[in-house]
Amino acid sequence: MTDITKDAMMPPRSFLSQDAIQVFYRLLAALLICAVLAVLSDSFLSLGNILNVLRQASLTFFIASGLTLVVLTAGLDLSVGANVALSACIAGTVIHKTGSPALGILTGLACGGLVGLLNGIMVTALRIPSFIATYGMLWVLNGLTYWYMAGETLHGFPAGFRQIGSGYLFGLPIPVYLLLVFLGIGTFFAQRTVWGQEIYAIGANPIAARLSGIPVARRLLLVYAVSGTMAGLASIIFLSRLNSAEADIGESLTLPAIAAVLIGGTSLFGGVGTVFGTFIGALILTLVLNGMNLLSVSANWQPLVTGIIVILAVWLDMKTRRRAQ
């Protein structure tokens, strides 16, 4: 028996795709958390609370979904939070100056996308590791935003614009609709388009991807631009929900978004993960924080719990995911 025939006799190891299995585990975990919270707290299962959880999860998800694509290529975008802040402040100014929410929304998305594109150029043309390029960008954006706002707060936007973040349609918050739409688009893009497949291939082995004829640099540009644009979208939701913008609103956004991506099962080494997983990651993160609020646990414990969940999730991933040599 040669090793050629031996391979054929090996048991098939993946009838279900590994991604599907990982997502399934996560759904179970989310349901388990829900069950525990439903038992421990009377108010958890109230409609108002559930909608609240979904709305909060949607904010994290918008940022994290674009970030997921970056992480799938084995990159990282640390500038998303700072990008949200700058985009929100610029979009807010445009709305104030022109009175046109539509123009403001476009400016916010364009600003986010442009920042993402610059990240992409640093990573591809200048070959700066994404971790460092976007970390530098974080500081640059913070600097710009603080200079631009000069300590001011933008406040008070048209009622129609505020509907985006705080309005309801058929009893559901509008951000939840947006969440479903972008979950659908993100999943479709990653799983059902050639570009999505190429992004997975790049993350799995960038050298092999290039030598297989994938235009790696162009795809990376796209991915960082998408991540930036999603930050721009998040900035609009933020602006509309808070009805105000300050220079420091982005500072608490980046790390939770990364947490959602990791809890969602996307590997920092690239090539493995799903947008749907990131949605569940954002959901788990929000559920836990929501549960702690309902159970009157001090908010001071939240970072610690988040950290433990991230470590647990990644550790379980590594245990369940077989590694081919």
Partner: protein, 507 residues
Amino acid sequence: MSDALPVEVTTPTPLLELRGISKEFPGVKALDDVSFAVYPGEVHMLLGENGAGKSSLMKVLCGAYRADAGEFYYKGDKVAISSTADAQKLGIAVIFQEFSLVPHLDIAQNIFLGREPGGRIPGTIDRRKILTDAKRVLDAIGFDIDPSTTVDKLGVAQQQMVEIAKAISQNARILVMDEPTAALSDRETELLFALIARLKADGVSIVYISHRMAEVFALGDRITVLRDGRRIDGVKPADVTPDQLVRMMVGRNVDMTYPRSFADKPGELLLEVKGLSAATGISDINIEVRRGEIVGLCGLVGSGRSEVARAIFGADPVTSGEIIFDGKAISGEPDLAARRGIALIPESRKSEGLALLRSVSDNLVVSALRKLFPSGLFDSRSAQRTSDALIRQLRIATPSARQTVGLLSGGNQQKVVIGKWLAAGSKLFIFDEPTRGIDIGAKSEIFALIDRLVAEGAAALMISSEQIEICHVCDRAYVMREGRIAGHLARNELTEENIVRLGIHHA
């Protein structure tokens, strides 16, 4: 239980003897009741196809794996090898194919890594003593080099010498070498053989793993053949022919002459390289490849063969010259070359050819995504169908298209790399060492495949260090030396001797 000793019973006590060694992994019996003896001062060749158990046996020998069953005897006394420390104490050292040297440290530091002689002040290292000791060891193996040279400045052959020096400095009595000549030039191979003779004379025993028949007969005092984890036979080189050995390894008759149906006359010009130079060290390369041809690209390792392949494919930037493919000039990134119909099957399959963690199907369609799905919408079922067809066509042995490609054997992985370019409909296939690390059975399958490709109107440019393969398979060949084309050999001039003559610099 098998107490049966290997062939000889009249010879003196073996230096090291393994009896009835078994090692099982989930689903695979890697070693099954293997007995094996090494006598002082002999070169013991270990033969077998990939997956036959050579690596496992080697790892048991050096204590990296613990045998599930079996006994070890050192000079007749029963011993235990259950850790690498045990093996080191018995004087067993392994020179792996992938060296374990630290590139930024110098030769002396590498030789004494972890055993540095202390200086006068505790915690410091006696630098002078390290250098003199290293020099002594290097002299002992006849390697004339300054021990303060950093390792990353050394070539493969020199790094190998450092590994050997390191082993000798640890009083190794049994040296296990895993395909030591795989990355060496002929000249370097000669030096290595001379060193082996010297070590033998000093009473060092060598366990030598090789795929190359010529070496087996040139060096071996004794041959052990493994197949499917079992010891098939132990023989002396004088008592067997190469064909007999191959039969033992494969367990069936294998045609060692590769199949090739040479075309009567070559087709139209497909690739024309004119005066190509690149910063990677190649200059003024002129190459022509016609449809229906397999053109060899030979020369020593490091002569620039892979660099030519990469430059044609757009993987390295070109500084001057022209590449004309299918009548049109081409310059740019690999994605352009791939779209125009050029395929590169790179030398290191695992790091450059495949996404090991992804499925066979993912890897098979990756280069054909835009051809299969011109709308940009990916359909996994359609990808699966394409993959299934390729798996059947190439006879890729895998339980399903969803299997992780990293779990396949080298031969099947190589078929996947070729398959992705078949899916893409490539016209020119550039093979860089297509048969490296592939067993004999898979080799002839790969050559049959290449033959079929060119018979159907494609063309191939093939880099190989196995001159015999070039001679058997190619219509003609270019020979490279120091980054330039040193000469061209037509079919009737294509002999190993001519390749070597052109490839070696005559000062």
